[in-house]
Each structure stands twice: as structure tokens, then as C-alpha cells.
Symmetry: C2
Subunit: 229 residues, 2 copies
């Protein structure tokens, strides 16, 4: 392979990296914004969060397109092939994270149709933890740091524990005040969305490990969603 | 390229196809089994459904592995490359369908800890419809029939409408009998899992279209989950 082609492949990988990091930043900002509009009960702003999800979807399409072009034109092998494969997988996880954030904003609009529910207080902390996991997973990916990625994977259990606590709290609240059942159900689904975001952070971490080592990490990942077991 | 290499690539694609169809059959059988054990309140059998999910995960790993080997050794282009790309995407959707089916079985065990809830009757119909969409999407993929795939995509709206009906019914039931709140919450999540399976059938259909036409289908997909809008 000539130097020119090698350089060009590296440039394209750098470009892919940039797209993925940008996608990730938007997804994290979207979840922050969704929780903010939920707390402020601002349906107008919530609609903007929902609309913004298109930017993430567009970036995912761009990345898929770039990946297919790279595979066809550069025919990468070994580590280079894993780079391209990981980019595809990770962009798909970020797209899902964006979907969950948009769904939080969407449900906040439904919540605004009834009285405020105080128990929603636990959600911002849950969302901060989820966003922290996503941010750390993306940093591990950016640095190609497999050990850092494994730390993120281990921390998903913290999020699951917080989610489980919130889940039980919401059930208690519903039983105490059945008028809040509809609102609390949407809060339950919002909490579940945030818990799922943590699973996708774990996926990003596992794909980072795979990219570096060429095999999947050993050992089971922390079990998701203790409320169903 | 020599005839020998071409034949061998075709053989490998056929093998991938077989793996994906097998994976899909297991996922559909898993959802059937999960609904069956839920109705029969059989926690022993539910545990077996949860354990069976490993077979699907193992097939997904095998497919990822095969795809990476195919990309490295055969360096496919154009339609051949899209074949490999679609296999990767579709296997990932089936893996998610399997996860949702296993989660239904897991939650059925939690439900067995309290009295039966009659409103669970709506779930088998919802699951049948979801399984029908998955089966049709996999048939469209097997036949490389993009038009059939688009019909499946259009039918996801039926599932969303049935899910929305069940969602409202469950909320009413919870309000009428607050002792059922915990059980009904798990039924809500079970219904949501089944609704999500329909979204993955839609993804399979869209990837089939992409495989045949080299571009994504035009027009928005039917909006998922009307309960949050």
C-alpha cells in the first residue's frame, strides 16, 4: 500500500471518529435537555428536543454511508477492519441513546397535561449518572483505552441499582395516590429509558474492548434491570 | 475473480442466511414460549426461556465473526457488500428481539408471586401480531423481496394501535384496583417489550429494502408507541 493510501485511510478514520464524538455529544446534550424541560414543564422546549433527534439520525446515516464506502474502497483488514466495524456498532448505540432521550422529552409533554409529581425528583440524578457513563464510554473509545472501557462497563450496576430504587418508589407512590397512576407510569417508562441508555454505554465500552483486543471482554456484564428479576 | 472464489463467497452468504433464519426462528419461538409460560404461570419453564436466550446470543456472535472474516478475506463490493452489511444489522435486530422475549419470561416469574391478573388476556394477541411481523420480515429478507418488506413496515402501525389499547386498559385496571399496580406495571413493560419487537421487525424490513435497492426506503416509518405522544 502506498503512503498516500495509508494516510488517506487514517484521515477517513479520523473523520469517522469526529462524527461519532459529535453524535455522542449531541446525544448527551439531548438527555440533559430532556430532563431540563421535564423539570421546567416546558412543552415547547420539549418539542424542540424531539425535533433535534433528527440531527443524530442524520449523523448515523452519514456514518453508515462512510463505513460502506470505506469497506468498498479501502478493504481494510485486522485492526483497521475492527476500527470500521466498531464505528458502525457504536454509532448505532448512540442513535438509540438519542431515541431514548427524545422519548423522555415526548413523555414530558404528556406529563404536562396533569399536575406535577414530586417523585420525579429522582430522575435528574439517574440521568446524570447515565450521561456520565455515556461520556466516559465515549472517552474510552476516543482514547482506544480498553481498560477504561471496562471500568465503565462495571459501573452500569450503579445505574441499575438507582433505577431499581426509583422504580419501587414510583410503585409506592402510585399505590398511595391512584390519581397519579398515569403520570407515574410515564415516569416509570422515562426511568426505564434512562436505564437503557446505561446498557448502550456498556455496549460502547464492549465494542471499544473488541476494537483494541480483537475479542469480546470475558465475564458477564452486570445484569440489567433488577426490577424484572 | 475465479469461479472458485465466487462460488465460495456465495456459499458463505448462504451459510450466513441460514444462520440468520435459524436465529429468527428461535427468537419467534422464544416469544411464543414466553407468552405460553406467562399464561400457564410456570416459573420453571420461564427460567428455561430465559436460559435459551444464550443460543440466540451465541448465533449473533457467530454471525459477527463470519461477517468480519468475509469482509477481510473476500473484500466484497456493491451488492455483495450490502449483503454482508444487512446480515450484520439484521442479526443485531434479532438478538434484541430475543432479549425482549427473554425479558417477558423473566417478568412472568415476578407476576407469579402475586394473584393472576385477568387483563393479561390482551397480551397473547399482541405477541401473535408481533411474531407475525417478525416472521414476515424474515421471509421478505430470505426472498430478498423489497416490496414485501415494505408491506411489513407498513403493518407496524397495527401493532402500535393494539399496544396503545392495551396500555390504556392496564392503566384503567390499576386505577380500579390499586392492589394490582405492581403486577400491571410488569404487564405494561411486557406489552412495551412486544411493541418494541415490532420496531425491530421494521428495522429488518428496512435493511432488506436497503440490501436490494442500495438506499433507505423513502418516507417516514409509522410512528412508534402512540402512548407517549
Amino acid at each position: 500500500m502506498t503512503d498516500h493510501i495509508v494516510k488517506s485511510f487514517d484521515n477517513e478514520l479520523t473523520r469517522l471518529d469526529g462524527e461519532i464524538q459529535r453524535m455522542g455529544q449531541i446525544a448527551v446534550a439531548q438527555l440533559d435537555a430532556a430532563i431540563d424541560v421535564l423539570q421546567r414543564r416546558d412543552s415547547q422546549a420539549a418539542m424542540r428536543v424531539v425535533a433535534n433527534d433528527e440531527a443524530i439520525d442524520a449523523l448515523e446515516h452519514e456514518i453508515s454511508h462512510d463505513v460502506l464506502r470505506l469497506l468498498a474502497l479501502r478493504q481494510p483488514m485486522a485492526r483497521d477492519l475492527r476500527e470500521v466495524y466498531a464505528a458502525l456498532r457504536i454509532s448505532s448505540d448512540i442513535e438509540r441513546i438519542g431515541d431514548y432521550a427524545a422519548n423522555v422529552a415526548k413523555r414530558s409533554m404528556v406529563l404536562n397535561q396533569s399536575a406535577p409529581v414530586t417523585v420525579a425528583r429522582g430522575l435528574p440524578a439517574l440521568a446524570r449518572l447515565a450521561n456520565n457513563l455515556v461520556t466516559e464510554a465515549l472517552a474510552a473509545y476516543r482514547l482506544r483505552d480498553a481498560d477504561k472501557a471496562m471500568q465503565v462497563r462495571g459501573r452500569d450496576a450503579e445505574l441499575d441499582a438507582e433505577y431499581t430504587g426509583l422504580f419501587r418508589e414510583l410503585l409506592t407512590y402510585m399505590a398511595e395516590d391512584p390519581r397519579q397512576i398515569t403520570a407515574c407510569t410515564h415516569l416509570l417508562f422515562i426511568a426505564k429509558n434512562i436505564e437503557r441508555i446505561g446498557d448502550h454505554a456498556t455496549n460502547i465500552a464492549e465494542n471499544t474492548w473488541f476494537l483494541v483486543h480483537g475479542e469480546l471482554p470475558a465475564g458477564d456484564r452486570a445484569k440489567a434491570d433488577l426490577t424484572s428479576s
